[in-house]
C-alpha cells in the first residue's frame, strides 16, 4: 500500500487561547472524495486550511507524504494541494482568465511569464468548469455561482494532487450545487484528484462523498462511509435537533429534520 497523501497525528490548534481543533487523527489517501460536515463553528474551515498549509500547523502534527508539512516549502506544497475559499472579492478588476492563470504560479519560476502551455492548461480548466464564456469579464462582475466555478478553475489550473474546498456549494442554488459537485466528481474520477470539501448539505454530501468526517466542537466524532456516519443518534447529538433519515432511491441519505414540538412555556400564546 502506498503512503497516505496527508496524515494528521494528534493535531491540536487554536487561535490565541481558544482551542478550535482537538486531538485530530486523520489519514487521507490519494484518490479519496471526502466531505467535512458538522455544525457552524465546528472547525471544518480551520481543518481545511491546516491541511492545505494555509495555517501553520504545530510541529509533528500534519505530515504531507510522511514529511512534516512545516518542512515542505510553500511552493512545493502548492504544486500538490490547491485550496479554494468559500467567498472571494477582489480589490482590483482582474479578468476571470487572469484569476485562473494565477493557478499556474507555483509552476512558474521567478520572472517567468506564462507560456503557451500554461495558457492551454488554464483554458482547459475553464472548459471543464464551463467558465470560458466569461473569461474576459471582470471577476467582480460575475455571480456567486460563476465566481465559485472560476475559483475552482484556478485550482484545477494548479494541477494539484488534492483540492481542499471550503464550502464551495453553500451560497448556491441547487442547480449550481449539482454542477460544482459533478465537476469535482469528474476530476476525482478522471484525473484521480483527491477531493476534500467542507459542506453543509448532508443529503448532497452523502450522494457525492465516499467518506464523511463529522466534526463537532473541534473533534472528529465520526469517520466513515456516508451510511455509517449519517445516523440519527449522532446527528441529533451533534446538531441538537431531531431527525429522521430516508434512503434516497437515487443514491444518498435524505436527512429530514423534525420540528421540535411547540415551546411549552413561552409567551407566544
Amino acid at each position: 500500500m502506498t503512503s497516505p497523501l496527508l496524515t494528521a497525528k494528534n493535531l491540536n490548534f487554536g487561535y490565541d487561547d481558544t482551542p478550535i481543533l482537538k486531538n485530530i487523527f486523520l489519514k487521507i489517501e490519494a484518490g479519496e472524495f471526502i466531505g467535512l460536515i458538522g455544525p457552524n463553528g465546528s472547525g471544518k474551515s480551520t481543518l481545511l486550511k491546516l491541511l492545505a498549509g494555509i495555517l501553520d500547523a504545530p510541529a509533528h502534527s500534519i505530515y504531507f507524504k510522511q514529511q512534516d508539512i512545516r518542512q515542505v516549502t510553500r511552493k512545493k506544497l502548492a504544486q500538490s494541494i490547491a485550496w479554494t475559499p468559500q467567498e472571494q472579492n477582489l480589490a482590483f478588476d482582474f479578468k476571470n482568465s487572469e484569476v485562473v492563470l494565477m493557478g499556474r504560479h507555483p509552476h512558474l519560476s521567478l520572472l517567468a511569464m506564462e507560456s503557451v502551455n500554461d495558457f492551454a492548461i488554464a483554458k482547459k480548466a475553464m472548459e471543464i468548469t464551463h467558465t470560458l464564456a466569461f473569461s474576459d469579464r471582470s471577476f467582480n462582475e460575475i455571480s456567486g455561482g460563476e465566481k465559485q466555478r472560476v475559483l475552482i478553475a484556478s485550482a484545477i489550473a494548479q494541477e494539484p494532487e488534492m483540492m481542499a474546498l471550503d464550502e464551495p456549494t453553500s451560497a448556491l442554488d441547487i442547480k449550481y450545487q449539482m454542477q460544482i459537485l459533478e465537476i469535482l466528481q469528474h476530476l476525482n474520477q478522471d484525473r484521480k484528484t483527491t477531493i476534500v470539501l467542507a459542506m453543509h448539505d448532508l443529503h448532497l454530501a452523502s450522494k457525492f462523498c465516499k467518506r464523511l468526517l463529522l466534526l463537532d466542537n473541534g473533534k472528529i466524532v465520526r469517520d466513515g462511509t456516508p451510511d455509517k456516519v449519517l445516523e440519527p443518534g449522532i446527528l441529533e447529538k451533534v446538531y441538537n435537533i431531531n431527525v429522521k433519515l430516508y434512503r434516497d432511491p437515487n443514491g444518498g441519505v435524505l436527512v429530514s429534520p423534525i420540528p421540535s414540538s411547540a415551546p411549552a412555556s413561552t409567551d407566544i400564546a
Binding site: I54, L55, D56, R74, L90, A91, M102, H105
Partner: protein, 334 residues
C-alpha cells in the same frame, strides 16, 4: 497577457515619457534658443541658453521624473499589498516622518553635509525610516499575514504623531525658519543639481528591480492572502519586502523633494484603468507614467505665474484632491 500585448503597451508608455522629456525642457519662464544652447561656438560660461537648459531645467526635470516614478511605483505596491486602492506611500506615515526630520534640521539650523548630502535630506530620510520602523513595531504578524487594518491604523497614528511634532517645532521657530519649513512641507523640485539626481538613482533603481522580481507574487497577494498562500506565495516575506522597499524609495525621494502628495495615489489608478491590475505590466508602466506626470506638473508649476514658481506639491494636490473625491464617489456608487 501575451508578449506582444506586453511589449506594445510598454512601448506606448515609453513614447509618452520620451515626448514629455523632449518637450518639458523647452517650457519655462524664459524662452531658450536651442541652437544657441547646443552651439559649440559660444563658450559654455557665456552661453545663457545652455546654462538654463543644462544647469537649471534638465537636472530638475530628471529629479521630477525619478521622484514621480518612485512615488508612483510605491503607490502601486502599497495598494496591492493593502488590497485597497486608496492607499498611497504616505499612508504608512513615511511623509510625516520625513517632514519631522526635515523640520528638526531646519529648526536646529543644521547646514552641514555628509558625503555631499545636506543635513536636511539626511534627517528627512532618517525620519521616514523612523516612521516606518515605528509602524512595523506596532504590527504583529499573525497566521502568515500582516493585519492590514492594524497597519493602516498604525500608519495613521504615526502620521498624527509626527504632524504634531512638526507643528510643535514650527510653533517654536522664528520667522525665517518658519518660512523655510512651510516651503519644504509644500514639496518642490527647485533646489537641485546633478549630484542630487545621481545620488537618488541607485536606491530607486534597486527598489524597482526588487519589486519587479516579486511582481507576480504581489499580484496574488492583491487578489487575496489565503489564496496567495495556497498558490505557493510566501506571503509574509513578500509583504515585508514590498513594504520595506517601497518605504525606502519613498523616503529617498521625499528626503530631497519634500512630501509631494497624490502622485502615488493618482498615477497607479490612471495606469490601472488603462493596462489592468497585473503588476508585471502595471509597475513599469506606472514608473514611466509617474515620471511624465510629475515632469508635466512641474512644467505647469514653473510657468503658471512665471517668473514666480508654484511649489509642485501644490499643483499635484490641486489636481489630486478632486480626483480623490471622484474616486471615493465612484467607489461608493459601485
Amino acid at each position: 497577457m501575451t508578449k506582444k500585448h506586453y511589449i506594445t503597451t510598454l512601448g506606448i508608455f515609453l513614447i509618452f515619457l520620451l515626448a514629455t522629456l523632449a518637450i518639458a525642457p523647452l517650457i519655462g519662464a524664459t524662452d531658450i534658443n536651442l541652437r544657441n544652447a547646443f552651439s559649440s561656438e559660444i563658450p559654455f560660461k557665456e552661453n545663457i541658453d545652455a546654462h538654463i537648459l543644462f544647469l537649471a531645467r534638465l537636472p530638475r526635470i530628471l529629479l521630477a521624473g525619478i521622484a514621480g516614478s518612485a512615488l508612483a511605483i510605491a503607490g502601486a505596491v502599497f495598494q496591492a499589498l493593502l488590497r485597497n486602492d486608496l492607499a498611497a506611500p504616505f499612508t504608512l506615515g513615511v511623509s510625516s516622518g520625513a517632514a519631522f526630520g526635515a523640520v528638526l534640521s531646519i529648526a536646529m539650523g543644521w547646514t552641514f553635509r555628509i558625503m555631499g548630502i545636506p543635513a536636511l535630506s539626511l534627517f528627512a530620510f532618517m525620519g521616514a525610516l523612523l516612521a516606518v520602523a515605528l509602524v512595523f513595531s506596532l504590527v504583529k504578524v499573525r497566521h502568515n499575514e500582516f493585519q492590514t487594518s492594524t497597519l493602516l491604523l498604525a500608519g495613521v497614528t504615526a502620521n498624527f504623531f509626527f504632524a504634531a511634532l512638526v507643528m510643535f517645532i514650527h510653533y517654536l521657530s522664528d520667522f525665517t525658519q518658519s518660512f523655510q519649513i512651510i516651503r519644504w512641507l509644500m514639496g518642490g523640485l527647485d533646489i537641485t543639481d546633478y549630484a542630487t539626481v545621481l545620488s537618488i538613482i541607485p536606491p530607486v533603481a534597486f527598489g524597482f528591480f526588487v519589486l519587479m522580481l516579486i511582481a507576480r507574487d504581489l499580484n496574488l497577494i492583491s487578489a487575496g492572502v489565503s489564496t496567495a498562500l495556497s498558490r505557493g506565495v510566501n506571503v509574509s516575506r513578500i509583504q515585508k519586502t514590498g513594504f520595506i522597499v517601497s518605504s525606502l524609495i519613498t523616503g529617498t525621494v521625499v528626503a530631497f523633494t519634500g512630501p509631494i502628495g497624490f502622485v502615488g495615489l493618482i498615477a497607479p489608478h490612471i495606469v490601472r484603468l488603462i493596462v489592468g491590475p497585473d503588476l508585471r505590466l502595471l509597475l513599469p508602466c506606472v514608473m514611466m507614467f509617474g515620471a511624465a506626470f510629475l515632469i508635466l506638473c512641474d512644467a505647469v508649476a514653473r510657468t503658471l505665474i512665471a517668473p514666480a514658481e508654484i511649489p509642485v506639491g501644490v499643483i499635484t494636490a490641486i489636481l489630486g484632491g478632486p480626483f480623490f473625491v471622484w474616486l471615493l464617489k465612484r467607489k461608493k456608487n459601485a
